[in-house]
Amino acid sequence: MRSPFSKQPPPLHWMPLDNAAKIYPAARRPNWTNVYRLSADLSEPVDVPTLQSALGTVVRRFPSMAARLRRGVFWYYLQELSAPPTVREEACYPLTYMSKAEARRCALRVIVYKNRVAVEIFHSLTDGNGALVFLKTLLAEYLERRYGVTVPATHGVLDRHDRPAPEELEDSFQKYSGALPASRREHTAWHLSGTPEQGAFLNLTCLHLPADATLAKAHEYGVSVTALLCAVMMMALQRWQAEVVPLRKKRKPVRVLIPVNLRRLYGSRTLRNFVMYTTPEILPQLGDYEFEEICRIVKSQMGLDITPKQMSMKIAVNVNSERLMAVRVMPLFIKNIVMKIIFNTVGECKSCLSLSNLGMVQLPEEMRPYVRRFDFILGVQASAPYNCGVLAYDNTIYVNFIRNICESPLERHFYEVLRELGLPVTAESNQREEDDDVLRELRR
């Protein structure tokens, strides 16, 4: 036990990566890391010194998130930061490359641009739901310091002065792994492609939809909002593929990966990764699908997959692999090679893109006047150029498309399907203008 008279600072927390997190450091590439962003737009410009001091308080509550990624001999691990990260300035595109060296220093970024506070997180730390709790708690602390409001610890805001509970830091995959593993066998999906964007730039297109009208439309088709958006996405992908692959028999399956928050399913309180996925699929080789037909397929596929028993089988596949003695004693550099091969062969290629919906963001009443908007932006996939993050706040659904190619066919088709459904859409983006010096230089 540590002596109370010791002048040494207390040892920093460290923890092994959770089951889902292990793949991300291994799957990293020289120009790609699995990073995503959550941001909130406030009613007034952000005061950076106040936010920095709020961050100093909040990071102590989230030792698994304010962390750096370190290498062991056999596994990577997370180590709590000794000091909070410095608040950074925004670049002209979100999710700039997080190098190995940066993740080793701190795998979490806090970024400010005018009214916006954004957190960018390496996926090994937590999933979108965990990051949302972090962002809400950070905003609560900031608003308390800036405006003197008292924010209760409800609606996903944690008490900043509590100590982290053990169940918040647990690897829930180990706890809820099933007795039987599911099969990994799936068709390879259609691979999206386009003209690569110059200079690592990422194009962001945000579509705004009215939440009430979208919910009413989803009810009209007898599905949830996530299923409706997934059906719209699959319809858009079907049309895009028909454009670029005219010969029907050469078309590939259209499959969308939908992450499933397992906390609700199992009642877990963990703040680390705890998501699995479902992958609704259509086979355009068989013929064109109607929108109602796709809705039925998505609904039945989600209904089959999103049950505790089915998900425990999916968890068991990864947990069983991790528990193998041969895998555990393998040195990390060999493990990285093996995991990268597995990721490339049975990972991303099984779906066209991810559609991750965090659902309706709830805030305590005290915070609502100060927060105008939330956004959830996934990074592009390692080999596929698109991804899509969705959330809803204050009767608006924000659908954020990110891509590293120049063309925007998916957004266009997605919008056209929404227009046919009668949903009003507003679009905004971070597109570069022709007078951008760097763009002009790159095009030479």
């Binding site: 002209c92 060296a101 925007s408 679009a427 951008d436």
Partner: protein, 233 residues
């Protein structure tokens, strides 16, 4: 404002429709300039990592130099002999591979001639250190210079001229054919037993044929389209 082409409602930040690229314009509507979603033109700085690599590579290139110099002075013949060749080769390689990495956006129009100058300098050093036939001024310099001029011209034209690649490469191939003739002529005057047997006419005719064909494709659009139809990948 709504996009005139696809009909999507555009946020005030959009100068063009992000879905179809149509410029947002309405003759009767005056738009208020809005704050962009992200700060325009502010790119993440990647120079730091590049600089670290440049320093590391410079150290890696510099380390063998004192070692070979000491070995040559200590164990070799009096004076610097073979170490000069090693040091010269390292310096040439450094100029060609590492020197551009010190710059944020190295311009090949500058660095390609620099690389040829380094190669020329190294060849002069070899000629100087290895006593025998004096081949630098009559052979190595004109040949290196000729290749440097052609390659630099191709690089410059490719960088600053947007169209006409077929003419550029066609012209370069014809020039290379001419260079072959020059090489054979220089070999006969530099290395006396060698006689002019006109072997250079074979590469010359091949280069001129291919280069001429490229130039013809550049001029004749139907032929160019036919080739595209037949050979697209």
């Amino acid at each position: 404002m709504y996009c005139a082409n696809c009909g999507v409602k555009l946020a005030d930040t959009e100068a063009r429709c992000p879905l179809c690229g149509t410029r947002a314009y309405h003759p009767d509507l005056q738009r208020e300039p809005a704050e962009p979603l992200y700060p325009a033109g502010r790119y993440p700085d990647a120079a730091q990592k590049k600089r670290v690599w440049s320093i590391l590579l410079t150290v890696l290139f510099a380390l063998p130099i004192p070692t070979v110099l000491i070995c040559d002075l200590r164990f070799g013949d009096p004076g610097l002999t073979w170490s000069g060749i090693v040091v010269g080769a390292l310096c040439t390689l450094y100029v060609m591979s590492v020197l551009p990495a010190w710059f944020k956006r190295p311009n090949p129009v500058i660095f390609v001639p620099c690389s040829f100058a380094a190669v020329g300098g190294y060849l002069w050093l070899l000629d100087y250190l290895l006593s025998g036939v004096d081949w630098f001024w009559t052979f190595a310099l004109p040949v290196t210079g000729g290749v440097a001029v052609i390659v630099s011209a191709v690089v410059t034209l490719m960088r600053y001229v947007r169209r006409g690649q077929l003419f550029i490469f066609g012209g370069a191939l014809v020039a290379f054919g001419g260079l072959m003739l020059l090489i054979e002529f220089l070999m006969t005057i530099t290395f006396p037993p060698i006689r002019f047997v006109a072997w250079s006419l074979y590469p010359l005719s091949t280069f001129v044929l291919i280069g001429g064909w490229l130039i013809f494709l550049g001029i004749c659009r139907p032929a160019r389209e036919l080739m595209q139809r037949k050979f697209f990948i």
